[in-house]
């Protein structure tokens, strides 16, 4: 086939136009995701929550959300959709819809995960994908933190007074999208003044430096202990700074997400009871 100069130029122009349109759509998608993820964070007496996510690409598949319940509790979820970029972001939105819908109609975190699995199992199975999720209810009145797990890393539980740091006690549960009709067990712990729960996705502990070494849980624990006196926003920043320092500017390979719940000395009291508005 012989192409003259004009045909070549037209083809290049068309390709540039397609690239430009695609870039604009990706930017809009990023904007939508950022706005949905970074909605209003609920405030309550006696403690604070915060969440932050940094996608490895323009958009990502990590997810976190807060949902104040009418009984005064706050439901928290963190999740990681298989894969990265646009495909993972699309499934993250699916997951968000399932959580928001399930959170309103279910009694506890275990039931929420069961309902979410029921709602999106078929879609995930068809798409050969899955999502790991950890869901918890925090009750500021009683100090009880109850939780259920669907294949996600267990959050870290930092005792505020002793600075003792451990994973939350194990609770069984497989990824959402793995098998139908799953029941998710619940566990609970009592949180005292100054205790912190640190939820995270694997992008943190698997962040890699120039030598191919991973950040690992041990560095995360060291960072948290070093800065545990700080408020949730500062603590979040310290963890992020520590990862950036460790990776020495190497491009991020996976989405990084963290959620913090920190109890202070006062009696907790959620100020916003009107779900789903935060």
């Amino acid at each position: 086939m012989i192409l003259d100069n004009l045909t070549v130029r037209n083809t290049q122009d068309e390709q540039q136009l397609i690239d430009k349109t695609l870039q604009r759509e990706i930017n809009i998608a990023r904007n939508i995701q950022t706005k949905l993820l970074n909605g209003k964070t609920p405030t309550f007496e006696g403690g604070e929550v915060s969440g932050n996510t940094l996608p490895a690409r323009l958009i990502g598949g990590d997810y976190y959300d807060f949902y104040p319940l009418v009984n005064g509790k706050i439901r928290i979820v963190i999740g990681d959709v298989m894969g990265k970029g646009i495909p993972a972001a699309m499934l993250m939105i699916l997951t968000r819809g399932a959580f928001r819908s399930a959170a309103e109609s279910t009694q506890g975190p275990g039931e929420t995960l069961t309902a979410m699995n029921q709602a999106i199992y078929e879609d995930l199975r068809t798409l050969r994908s899955f999502v790991t999720l950890f869901c918890a209810d925090w009750d500021p009145q009683t100090g009880i933190f109850s939780y259920a797990n669907a294949g996600h890393h267990l959050p870290l539980f930092i005792r505020g007074k002793s600075h003792e740091i451990n994973e939350l006690p194990k609770v069984k549960g497989i990824m959402v999208g793995g098998l139908p009709n799953q029941e998710y067990e619940e566990e609970s712990v009592k949180l005292d003044s100054l205790d912190t729960i640190f939820f995270y996705t694997d992008g943190i502990i698997e962040a890699m430096n120039q030598e191919g070494e991973q950040y690992q849980l041990k560095r995360l624990i060291q960072t948290l202990i070093r800065h545990i006196e700080k408020d949730v926003g500062e603590l979040e920043k310290c963890v992020m700074d520590s990862i950036i320092e460790f990776t020495e500017g190497l491009p991020q390979k996976d989405d990084i997400t963290m959620v913090l719940l920190k109890i202070n000395d006062q009696q907790a009291d959620i100020t916003s009871f009107n779900s789903p508005r935060l």
Binding site: D80, V81, M82, G83, K84, R125, R128, S129, F130, T132, A150, G151, H152, H153, G173, I174, M175, G178, L179, D202, E206, K253, D254
Partner: protein, 105 residues
């Protein structure tokens, strides 16, 4: 970062030995091998030379599990190191494998 898959056929048993990294940039390699697996009674995936697996890599192993159910063959995961084993335990991969193998094979 790359992934090499060494394929060995011993009668009706096929062995895939994974070497390198199984992540979003390399998962297509094993997916291609799985697509062209042909007729087998048992598929062994050997992880002993695998350096790293991410969620997309786990997705590829899930593909192998679903394929084993569809094509009615037995899937065995061998040489899984402690770290990967912990990840598989956490996400529930063994439970899914056992449940679907009981249903499908």
């Amino acid at each position: 970062m790359s992934l090499k898959v060494k394929k060995e056929i011993q009668g009706l048993t096929t062995i895939f030995t994974l070497q390198g990294v199984l992540d979003i940039s390399t998962s297509g390699v094993i997916d291609d091998y799985l697509e062209n697996i042909g007729t087998v009674k048992t598929l062994v995936i050997d992880f002993s030379k695998l350096e790293f697996i991410d969620s997309t890599g786990i997705g590829s192993i899930m593909n192998a599990i679903y394929l084993s159910q569809e094509k009615q063959f037995r899937l065995e995961l061998q040489g899984v190191d402690e770290l990967t084993n912990e990840v598989f335990e956490t996400v529930g991969l063994y439970q899914i494998l056992n449940t679907l193998q009981l249903e499908g094979v």
